[in-house]
Amino acid sequence: MSRVIRPYGDATGDGMVQVSFTLPIPHDKRAEGAAAQLANRMGIDPALVVHARAMGPDFTFFVVYGRVNHLVELDKVVVVERDFPLLAPKEVNARIKAQLRRPLVVVGACIGTDAHTVGIDAILNIKGFAGEKGLEYYAGFEVHNLGAQVPVPELVAVAGEVRADAVLVSQVVTQRDAHLHNTEEMTAAFREAFPRARRPVLVVGGPRFDESMAEQLGVDRIFGRGTTPAEVASYLVHRIVGEGRR
């Protein structure tokens, strides 16, 4: 596979893309020119403004097609690859039993004002996700799922009480970067409450996270869209059991 590629419309290398956006200006020729200018600045040239629609007197919606000049350099793609083996539930349980000699304690929650529990439940509940059972199903895990809208101080307190090995936090609402603010608040609280060596492994997840931002947000790992319970279980084993933590 070539290391440098371009988008594919209907021929190799044609670089074709589709863009849509709204500009806060009334619809006229100048507005269409403005749309073309923006597309040009995005590297689209020629930019075909194929659709423009006035939305009331103050806004115009555009659809633009065209050839983007940028190259995609596959060598420079930043991606968080799975750097641990994917284990079957049996192996997970066996390794926890053999090496940790006690269940691995996990606390889960939606923090802040987020009430979207379906995602964290998908990872934790027996029912699971995509045909895989959740962590509660594993003999090796002791799961405390605190549910929705858990205040950070409460989460920290419970994590301490149950001596959590890992804390799993879900964040689904992302408007105004709510998920980032909440995560930062959470990591700060854990940093404050636990000495570095005793701090539980911090994991966040949700469909709109950028998995490469873990360090920036102060968590150990981020899981995005479509994560399955086995991935999380395997990661926890790798991170906590495999490294002989505690």
Binding site: S20, F61, R208
Partner: protein, 533 residues
């Protein structure tokens, strides 16, 4: 379009719902809550907040609770104290209630449960104050009726759009743009955290997350903006918000005072999806619905939510059961059929064979069971993905099912459902989708007659049978235990858990709520109706 149902089975379902609701209604009659008491003060005209943003109604109710408890209601101690103030010559200013609240917050008021003559005059004064508020509500209702007569909305379904920027000043232009694009109803979604706040924030707000705070001032701003655009368009654009969460009774009151037209108000949503205590929720809900009934507000129930956590085929009958319960609770609170926007949703997994026919069956079941209610039809959300094209397609079939089955209120789906709260352009595109479907295929129902023994009618009857079976179980075991068991939306909520329980108070003998007393007085019949079913 209707499906053939066995009338005996329908009657049985209604009877079971009434019987299952009975014990819960009894409980609500024995309790009050902090929010109901605050609502009484709001109805009496107490507005505003202290320097920290804590509303004066909270300050005053808290002070009363601390000193004498709320088991007699807030009215008697408060109007008793007001009388004492007056007697002792404390400067009441233009707003003696506000002055009282301020002084109470400062710890300078001594409350008591008045007895004898004092009780009588406190009650009378409270009733007068409450009646003033209710009159304001009545006036708003009359204004709505006048505006509707001038700018009528004849068609159906009503097209319902959500606005959710978090900033009331961005919401306004977006709502107006949506109205110009064809929206009949604008709902301003609330910020994520609000339902768990045990107070209603004050003033115009710009800092919500994924929604804008419901405040009296925001209500006013948006209602005024929609009045402007209604005039411009010659079509009355309705405003909706959420009477839910810990402040449900107060928000219902503010909605009546500020002429909101519809309110999301479900008998169990707060329990299931906000983990609010069941007793708190049912009690608050009854009061809130009494106010809605008076205000001529159409409620929207929340059965759609169950299908975001449970499967829409397996749990179809739980929607029906909940609709029947919501109907009964609503009627008990004085709401009429035209005010019952019973909820359901297009949430069947689109990969399931015949998914569209199943949706039609479910939608027709609701349509046939509640022939006079303006059903609220919710779009696909759970199975929406980042594939916005597929999303636009699913929304089209949702719209088609809506117009084919005569839904009253169509909450317009957004192609970006799985991505962001709706953008201005999402709303415009969604409206184009609705309008194409209504215009091109709106009357297709005339050509379409599901056979009595066909797939659709058979499925509808099957769901009704399942609903009756579940109602039998609930009636036998109790509604509260059923909620505790995860019957609805797979959420397990025991009656003794959940938020806001500490705000529930058992009423004492002699409990006085001037607002419900006024609402219970006889009055003339209403004139405005919902979308014709």
């Amino acid at each position: 379009m209707r499906v053939a149902l066995d009338p005996v089975q329908v009657a049985r379902a209604r009877g079971l719902a009434a019987s299952a609701a009975q014990p819960v209604l009894a409980i609500t009659r024995e309790h009050t809550t902090v929010s109901i008491e605050r609502a009484v003060l709001r109805m009496a005209g107490l507005e505003g907040a202290d320097a920290e943003g804590i509303p004066w109604v909270n300050r005053l109710v808290d002070a009363v609770a601390e000193q004498v408890g709320l088991q007699h209601g807030v009215a008697l101690p408060v109007w008793d104290a007001l009388a004492a103030h007056r007697r002792s010559g404390v400067a009441g200013g233009a707003d003696p209630l506000l002055t009282l609240a301020q002084r109470a917050a400062a710890g300078s008021v001594q409350f008591r449960i008045p007895q004898g003559r004092a009780e009588g005059s406190a009650r009378t004064a409270a009733l007068r104050a409450a009646r003033g508020g209710v009159r304001r509500v009545d006036r708003q209702r009359a204004v709505r009726e006048r505006l509707l007569a001038r700018h009528p909305v004849e068609h159906q379904p009503w097209v319902y759009l959500i606005v959710a920027t978090g900033d009331i000043h961005e919401d306004v232009p977006q709502a107006q743009a949506a109205a110009r694009g064809g929206a009949d109803v604008i709902a301003v979604i609330r910020s994520t955290g609000q339902s768990l706040l045990d107070y209603v924030p004050e003033g115009a707000t710009r800092e919500g997350y994924a929604g804008t705070y419901a405040t009296q001032e925001n209500f006013r701003i948006m209602r005024a903006a929609l009045d402007d655009v209604s005039k411009e368009l010659g079509r009355y654009v309705r405003l909706t918000n959420y009477a839910s969460g810990l402040c449900m009774p107060e928000i219902a009151t503010l909605a009546g005072l500020e002429r909101l037209d519809m309110m999301l108000n479900d008998s169990m949503y707060g329990i299931l999806f906000r983990d609010i205590n069941p007793i708190r929720t049912f009690t608050d809900q009854h009061f809130a619905r009494q106010v809605h009934a008076r205000a001529g507000i159409i409620i929207n129930t929340g059965e759609d939510n169950y299908l975001t956590t449970a499967d829409a085929v397996d749990a179809a009958h739980t929607v029906t059961v909940s609709q029947l319960l919501n109907e009964h609770f609503a009627k008990q609170a004085g709401l009429e059929d035209w005010q019952l926007g019973l909820g359901h949703a297009f949430e069947i997994n689109p990969d399931l064979p015949d998914s569209f026919r199943l949706e039609l069956a479910h939608a027709l079941l609701a349509r046939t069971l509640f022939p006079d209610a303006p059903l609220k039809w919710m779009p696909p959300t759970k199975h929406m993905t980042g594939d916005i094209f597929r999303g636009y397609l699913l929304d089209a079939f949702f719209n088609l099912a809506g117009v084919l089955t005569g839904q009253g209120i169509l909450l317009v789906g957004m192609m970006t459902e799985a991505v962001v709260t709706p953008w201005l352009s999402d709303r415009d595109l969604a409206l184009q989708n609705v309008h194409y479907v209504m215009n091109a295929a709106g009357r297709l129902g005339e050509d379409f007659t599901p056979a009595d023994d066909g797939f659709i009618a058979t499925r509808a009857r099957h769901v009704l049978d399942e609903a009756v079976a579940l109602l039998e179980r609930i009636d036998a075991d109790g509604l509260l235990p059923a909620i505790a068991d995860g019957t609805f939306g797979l959420m397990k909520r025991p009656a003794d858990k959940g938020r806001g329980l500490d705000g529930v108070v058992a009423r004492a003998e002699g409990y006085c709520n001037p607002v419900t007393e006024v609402l219970d007085e006889p009055r003339p019949a209403p004139r405005v109706a919902g979308p014709r079913p």
